[in-house]
Symmetry: C2
Subunit: 398 residues, 2 copies
């Protein structure tokens, strides 16, 4: 069975490597070899083992009837969307690791695949090597999913872990992460939560069975987290994690990406470094957690190759994925209830006047007060915090 | 689509409950309802919502062409095997939660299903609600699996957690577990590791693609673990877990079920109570871990219903599962290397004479010495320990 890779970067070259090095294993799984025929990339890769397969025009792939399986690892919505769409229209199976494409066009591409009796799969788009998409699509099928909470961005988890372990400031940890290849030159998508937001949009779309627009999800990153916040976290026996969350609320879901202060009894507390983890709660299953490498060339490529094997085994068969194009209106996140950790320059009397009975936290930091509120609706909390004269920080407890 | 349940105990009745209560969700997944037509059980269930579906002769199911999906939740190899075989021969899909049946007859039943173009699935046979079987069959397909380590028995994990937390003796914890329904009246299969042994035999068969006989797996339970061992574990900063393990060794695997002393940096350290977890290492994926409820009516039934949905979506299509009947000869477990924690009445001089440089552990227990050996081959260790005059305990470090 012939395959093509579009985008020969970190993940694409990992896919080629697995197809080469685990050839026997793949033959064993699928019953025949998955043979790489083309690699689409505008760059040259002199000396690369797949150098002779490099092409620069995607139409060569689309028009070659021999190619049955296509990998898209270019990233970004365009031109990835145009290319993927052309492949599906040409009756080829496509797998992608591209969360931006899946979040924006997933429902449509699933429909196009169905219309051409092929498959569009995207295991690697969330959680890297962690098989969370297939778990939702094929394992939690008899369950109503009531909750998803995930650490789905390796860069920010690496940074927060460093800040916790070393008490370092955000900017220093970011520089170190960039130097070590754990953060990109432009880290915005990671540190501002945009990457995590697209991932929870995909997961929520799948459990709801219809389109969740990532623009509708309240998203807060970690660039405002400081070494002082870490001191408070430690004083509370908690850690700070960037969570992407989605909860069932009546007939819809409410979603948020934000840093949370987690206590040790939360299973996500222990997920450190570049690890990712997704906790899912089914109404019958209860909690299940999936942990692993959320990024990296080979772990992510491993998920892409699993899709290739699955699609090869389903040649001529469209696998139903329920994700309708109709947009799901998310529940109002401002009605969610939470406890909040707050730092303010106001004195304790003033704080008690505004918030009533709060728990003050002593982290040995002078000139300010840190405290935990009772459980409040988001918009009531917003009203109250506006009454503080000098608000320094707000982090939700989770 | 009509279904039948054979065996209306804890899991079977859970399956019926999910089919009733999550009907809309299942219609959404499958595209049509999965409707229960028969419940096979020799007992009567007066007042049960499925009372009118009760039958006592399995042939009624086998001979009813309307029934497409059959659930086997009877347990034990016979008569489950006869019944399941009859259903497959009659061209019906079968899912089972029965680890004894799958370990003994999995390869054969997969072949029978293939010959009749139906499916035989068994997600619930290992790890209850944790989707580990499907992860291996559909997600780790491009990877060579190098290692599986699992806490796959909830009863023993509950007991060991209690012993760690309360310092209680084995017999007291067992009585308490039996009183609370966490251990069976005859707990042998759990506490002697037989249950875990069948589960690792199934997982190893799947990653190797051929039959692993559970009788070939070295199996040790936890009934010899004492409150004194727990004291030593704490002194070492470790915990004791019953692990079912399998490691790639050349062209085969080496497997063992035994209690292990785990340090905090082992991710399985944190899996407490009735939770199960399976850690898998792929040569490309690296480590991934799957955690959740390993037992219980609804979590396990949730996995059975996921199989039902999968089989309903694959009507007319046999899903390839690679598990050949030819027996795999496991590698010799006596050649495995390990560090060992040992308790003996011998004095320190004698111990050093036999084992060389060891690390003594002080748990404040008089009249004996606890120590950790260097890394030794199992059979060399066996020779050495025979030289001790009064051996009290051996637990491997993991």
């Amino acid at each position: 069975m012939k395959a093509a890779i579009m985008g020969y970067g970190t993940i694409g070259s990992g896919v080629a490597k697995i197809l080469r090095e685990n050839k026997d294993r793949i033959v064993f799984t699928v019953g025949e070899e998955i043979e790489l025929k083309y690699v689409l990339d505008l760059r040259d890769f002199p000396g690369d083992p797949e150098e002779d397969k490099l092409i620069k025009d995607y139409k060569i792939i689309a028009e070659d009837p021999e190619v049955r399986l296509v990998v898209e690892t270019m990233g970004g919505v365009e031109p990835a969307y145009t290319f993927v769409n052309a492949m599906l229209e040409a009756g080829k199976h496509v797998t992608t690791s591209n969360k931006a494409l899946v979040a924006a066009k997933g429902a449509e591409l699933i429909e196009t695949a169905r219309n051409h009796n092929v498959n569009f799969e995207f295991e690697a788009s969330v959680g890297g090597g962690i098989p969370i998409i297939r778990a939702i699509n094929t394992c939690l099928t008899g369950d109503v999913v009531e909750e998803i909470s995930g650490i789905v961005n390796g860069t920010t988890n690496y940074m927060l872990t460093k800040m916790m372990n070393e008490g370092a400031q955000f900017d220093d940890v970011l520089k170190e992460a960039q130097a070590n290849g754990f953060a990109e030159k432009d880290p915005t998508a990671d540190i501002e939560g945009h990457d995590a937001c697209r991932k929870i949009a995909i997961l929520t779309s799948l459990v709801a069975g219809q389109q969740v627009d990532f623009e509708d999800i309240e998203t807060e990153g970690i660039s405002h987290i400081t070494a002082e916040d870490i001191k408070y976290a430690k004083a509370m026996g908690r850690t700070i994690k960037l969570l992407a969350r989605s909860k069932k609320e009546g007939d819809t879901y409410v979603a948020r990406v934000a840093p949370y202060l987690l206590s040790t009894d939360n299973t996500l507390y222990h997920i450190d470094g570049v690890l990712n983890a997704v906790l899912v709660k089914g109404n019958m299953l209860g909690y299940a957690m999936f942990t692993g490498s959320g990024a990296g060339s080979l772990p992510t490529a491993s998920a892409v190759v699993a899709d290739l094997c699955d699609m090869a085994k389903h040649e001529g068969i469209n696998i139903k994925i329920r994700w309708k194009k109709e947009k799901l209106n998310l529940a109002d996140a401002s009605k969610q209830k939470n406890e909040y950790f707050v730092r303010a320059k106001d004195d304790k009397e003033k704080i008690k006047e505004i918030f009533g009975d709060v728990n003050f936290v002593d982290a040995g930091i002078a000139g300010e007060n840190g405290f935990i509120t009772g459980t409040l609706e988001e918009d009531i909390f917003t009203e109250k915090k506006a009454k503080l004269s000098e608000l320094l920080q707000v982090i939700r407890l989770g």
